[in-house]
């Protein structure tokens, strides 16, 4: 893996392979959940994988409500997780 390919997830560096989405990079690191639901406080992460379900919402470079399964990982990208259901 190219060492330059790192994103920051909640301040921690996370490697990714060229062509992976933010969700694929998280899954590759063993994470399948990174968000908490608004009502039940339940963990959520990747579900549909193609942008339909909105379970995988994250904040990317300050933009809230982005679907991690659709956003291609890019070097230096800053991702914040653990938002509530409103993304």
């Amino acid at each position: 893996m190219n060492p330059v390919n790192r994103i920051l997830v909640d301040g921690e560096p996370l490697g990714f392979a060229e062509g992976q989405t933010v969700a694929a990079a998280l899954v590759a690191a063993g994470r399948v959940a990174w968000r908490t639901t608004r009502t039940g406080g339940r963990p959520r992460g990747i579900f549909c994988g193609i942008g339909v379900c909105f379970d995988c919402l994250v904040t990317v470079d300050g933009a809230t409500g982005r679907r991690a399964c659709l956003v291609p990982a890019r070097p230096g990208m800053t991702v914040t997780t653990r938002e509530d259901g409103d993304g």
Binding site: M1, A28, A63, G85, G87
Partner: protein, 485 residues
């Protein structure tokens, strides 16, 4: 946006690519728009660089060759300046624009900057595909439970598996490539639970015998499943998933003919990831607000009504692929070609000029025959792989049905029995099911069943098909002023 085109195609999967290629060959200027960052859609996903080899192409003959030919045709169209390819452009709305159409998209092709884009053309072809249809079950909202398509997208597009011990469940042939793909990646596929019985095709042998390519595909999957020692359990469903913060096991049950679990057959097996799919739901978000007529498909979905040339009920609006009924990539390709051929014919009629190389009558007849054969196969597929009528018996009152708003089966059923709700729209007003981020895309078909609504499932009209930022909408106003000037 300056450059005028004769045809806008939304969706660059198999149907949209085929339509683009035929329209370009007929001399049209075409805009091809897709939310993804490459052409190919969900079916033809280029693997990432680090995973070039391990994922086998399930359909190496017709699939790969057709894909290469279409890619070549589109690349050539771009070089000649006849094709405007707008990737990473999710379309959030399509409106009538005089005699034609305005397609409102957001350009996300550049890092950090999101920009509104409006494309206009006299004719529009919608080929937006489909996504996995889901039925809820206790524990399906646990992390590690994914759609079968989600597992496939991560694997094909990202080169990663969501777990190391995977159970797949639902119904339909799509579970098989997911199983063999995961196994080829080194994942232990513990079980494939197919709700349908093993003998369904014996009652509908005609379509299978008339589609030898499908039969061969089935034989290839059978061989691959055997090679990887993947057990396939017919008439079996995943009726629950268990775990605290992540799935750790699933409960399987043998199904009675009505789809209810046979008492005493439940068994629990360990798994760290689960993939579920009950066929597919067509993506009709852009077609419904345009007033396109829908018809019931044999799989229980409402789909776009089209004539034998893929024309919808709205003049100038064409549809191809899964939005006209779920049927797979080879059908989508044939319909895409056919739709673009109709565009060429209709333009020639409207302008009184013959379409420059007019699609040969013989080729049109062959495409129509291919569409008929594949549609026949899709119909049989839907009959062999139905939603189990009694799937609701898996639920408890506390089972989450709407994932976004965390509305339970108990609430949905109370809306029906105590408040008289009899379709998913009324359930939504009473319970908020379908009101969250996904706008009922995931729970809609299930709520439709639980409300005992008659007829096919028709999605709610969504005026905004994908979330857009206010900044991008502000751009749009300036853009429109510029266009008016």
């Amino acid at each position: 946006m300056g450059e005028s085109v004769d045809l806008i195609v939304v969706g660059a999967g198999p149907a949209g690519m085929a339509a683009g290629a035929t329209a370009l060959a007929g001399g049209l200027r075409v805009a091809l728009v897709d939310a993804g960052t490459t052409v190919g859609g969900q079916f033809w996903r280029p693997p990432p660089e680090h995973a070039r080899t391990p994922i086998p192409d399930a359909d190496p003959h017709q699939g790969a060759r057709a894909h290469r030919a279409l890619r070549r045709a589109l690349a050539e169209g771009r070089e000649r300046g006849r094709l405007l390819l707008h990737l990473a452009h999710p379309v959030w709305s399509v409106t009538r624009d005089g005699e034609g159409f305005a397609v409102h998209a957001v350009d996300r092709s550049r890092d950090g900057a999101e920009r509104a884009v409006t494309l206009r053309a006299p004719r529009l072809l919608v080929a937006t595909g489909a996504y996995d249809r889901q039925l809820p079950f206790p524990g399906w909202e646990l992390p590690g439970v994914l759609t079968a398509g989600g597992l496939q997208a991560l694997l094909k597009g990202g080169g990663v598996a969501a777990g190391s011990r995977v159970v797949l469940g639902g119904t339909g042939p799509f579970l098989l490539p997911v199983a063999t793909g995961l196994a080829a990646h080194g994942v232990k596929v513990v079980a494939v639970c197919e709700a349908a019985g093993p003998l369904g095709w014996l009652r509908h042998p005609g379509p299978l015998l008339r589609n030898p390519a499908k039969l061969a595909e089935g034989v290839r999957y059978g061989a691959a499943l055997a090679r990887h020692r993947i057990p396939v359990h017919p008439r079996t469903a995943i009726t629950a998933a268990e775990g605290a913060d992540r799935v750790t096991s699933v409960t399987l049950a043998a199904l009675a003919p009505d789809g209810s679990p046979r008492p005493g057959t439940e068994r629990r097996i360990e798994a760290d990831a689960v993939g579920v799919g009950w066929g597919f739901a067509p993506q009709l978000d852009l077609l419904i607000p345009l007033g396109c007529d829908l018809v019931p498909a044999p799989d229980g979905n409402a789909v776009a009504a089209v004539d034998e040339g893929q024309r919808t009920s709205v003049p100038g609006l064409y549809a191809a692929g899964e939005v006209c009924g779920v049927g797979g990539a080879p059908l989508a390709v044939a319909e895409g070609h056919l739709a673009a051929a109709s565009v060429l014919t209709d333009i020639a009629k409207a302008t009184g000029r013959p379409a420059a190389p007019a699609p040969a009558a013989r080729r049109l007849a062959a495409l129509r025959a291919r569409v008929r054969a594949h549609r026949g196969f899709a119909r049989a597929m839907a009959l062999v792989h139905p939603l189990p009528p009694a799937w609701g018996s898996w639920l408890t009152d506390r089972t989450v049905v709407c994932r976004c708003e965390e509305v339970t089966a108990g609430q949905v059923l109370a809306a029906r029995t105590e408040h008289g709700a009899h379709d998913h729209r009324q359930v939504k007003q009473l319970t908020r099911a379908g009101m969250g981020w996904c706008q009922g895309r995931i729970c809609g078909p299930a709520v439709h069943c639980l409300a005992a609504a008659p007829g096919p499932y028709t999605p709610a009209e969504r005026l905004i098909a994908t979330p857009v930022t206010l900044g991008a909408l502000a751009d749009l106003d300036t853009d429109r002023e510029a266009a008016d000037r």
